[in-house]
């Protein structure tokens, strides 16, 4: 493993984050070029994206998923092995809406995460924290008629990464979502409220608008906690992007 530059400290990255945020245009999504996140340097396009406004574009439709793609067990990540995983059992639930506020029905939600110790079941994760033989950390479900999804899992641990010296990712769950159109595809990460690592993380901070960043942090919801069983978190998701089923005479009101 190559050594990190000795001066690449958290405070150096904090300064870079402040500078990059000040320079960025406010937007819902992160700029693809965000220097404090070193991995973005060679992986962002330099040409502007080409806007496609063709109402016949295939991207305004999208793939379908159904009951054959998901089993009932998939949504409970604590039941994928013979034993119970270690960690704090949680439920995570919320609604998926499109940007017009309509529920996204019958669509696929996939999640993946580290175990309670902050280790992924992936051979390239060499963080010397224990693997859990009773936890893989991958789940799927379909949204219901109100756009709701729900998972039972364990709270993931924070983990180190080599973006800079002493870099730690805040605890997070990776989410992948489909809407009714390919344009609405979303891959993102959900964070936990009150995590002291949130302001230090160049990936979360790549979302330069503070209000948009807040939308990536779930809310603890005591009403969702199950007595003597699990703690509840609520996280609603709004998919960006247009769809073919939006009638042409309906002006997009964004």
């Amino acid at each position: 493993m190559t050594a990190l530059p000795p001066d690449l400290t958290q405070s150096a990255i904090d300064t870079e984050i402040a500078k990059a945020q000040a320079a960025a245009h406010a937007g819902d999504h992160p700029p693809r070029d965000f220097p404090p996140y070193r991995g973005s340097a060679l992986r962002h396009p330099t040409h502007p994206l080409i806007p496609v406004r063709d109402p016949e574009a295939v991207e305004l439709t999208g793939p379908a998923f159904g009951v054959t793609d998901v089993t009932d067990l998939d949504r409970d990540l604590t039941r994928h092995h013979a034993g119970e995983p270690l960690g704090e059992r949680i439920t995570v639930t919320g609604r998926v809406l499109d940007r017009r506020g309509r529920p996204v029905r019958g669509q696929l939600v996939e999640i993946w995460q580290a175990n309670a110790s902050g280790r992924y079941a992936h051979q390239r994760d060499q963080h010397p924290a224990p693997l859990d033989p009773n936890f893989t950390g991958f789940g799927r479900c379909l949204t219901d008629d109100e756009g709701r999804y729900s998972f039972t899992t364990i709270r993931p641990g924070a983990y180190p990464w080599r973006n800079h010296t002493n870099a730690w990712r805040p605890a997070h769950i990776h989410f992948s979502l489909f809407g009714e159109a390919f344009t609405q595809r979303l891959v993102t990460q959900m964070y936990f409220p009150g995590d002291p690592l949130l302001p230090l993380d160049p990936i979360l901070q790549s979302v330069t608008d503070p209000a948009a960043r807040d939308r990536l942090v779930a809310a603890y919801d005591h009403g969702l906690s199950v007595p003597e069983w699990s703690l509840g978190y609520r996280w609603d998701i709004v998919l960006d992007g247009p769809a073919a089923t939006w009638a042409e005479n309906e002006e997009d009101d964004r």
């Binding site: 819902d28 999504h29 992160p30 700029p31 693809r32 996140y37 991995g39 973005s40 340097a41 060679l42 992986r43 962002h44 396009p45 330099t46 040409h47 080409i50 806007p51 496609v52 063709d54 295939v58 991207e59 439709t61 999208g62 793939p63 379908a64 998923f65 159904g66 793609d69 998901v70 940007r99 017009r100 506020g101 996939e110 999640i111 993946w112 580290a114 992924y120 992936h122 390239r124 994760d125 893989t136 950390g137 991958f138 990776h174 390919f182 595809r185 891959v187 993102t188 990460q189 990936i203 790549s206 209000a211 948009a212 960043r213 939308r215 990536l216 709004v238 998919l239 960006d240 073919a244």
Partner: protein
Amino acid sequence: MSPAPTPSHTVGPFFGYALPFTGGADVAPPHHPDTLTLRGRVLDGDGQPVPDAIVETWQPAPDGSRTGAPGSMRRDAVTGRVVGRHGADFTGFGRVATDADGHWLVRTLPPGGVPYVCVAVFARGLLHHLYTRAYLVDDPDDALLAALPPRRRATLLARPEPGTPRVHRFDVRLQGAGETVFLEFP
């Protein structure tokens, strides 16, 4: 009042046990005579392979239908394992991770009514996925192609490989020389 969108984030490096699924590359039914292979590499700004990207494809069925069909990740009821498509319905959706050399491949059928397959690219280091199109035919009537200067337009053409007309090559260059044209849908 419209709700504000949830921001995108990178897919990160560790999606490999979660997102790829058995048969993800096999959009065409097995042994279908019209099968074409779409293959290529994902390359970074130094021209180096991106080994931790995931490529998704979406397209109409050969008859032009755009509804897709469930069952891309069809499950075995006993074991819960993904057993792949049954082949009688065309789901239109492909998903495949790049290999250590940045290479990916899907086997599919020609899209009906349009000359292109829709492509989305996700990767570690890419904070927001990218859309592009793999044009199987250089269609002079296509509005997107027509609006691009020749050198940029060429990045969208998935040309048949010499001697193998049913294998189309589509490299995705995220940055730099020959950078692929990426799309947005306002």
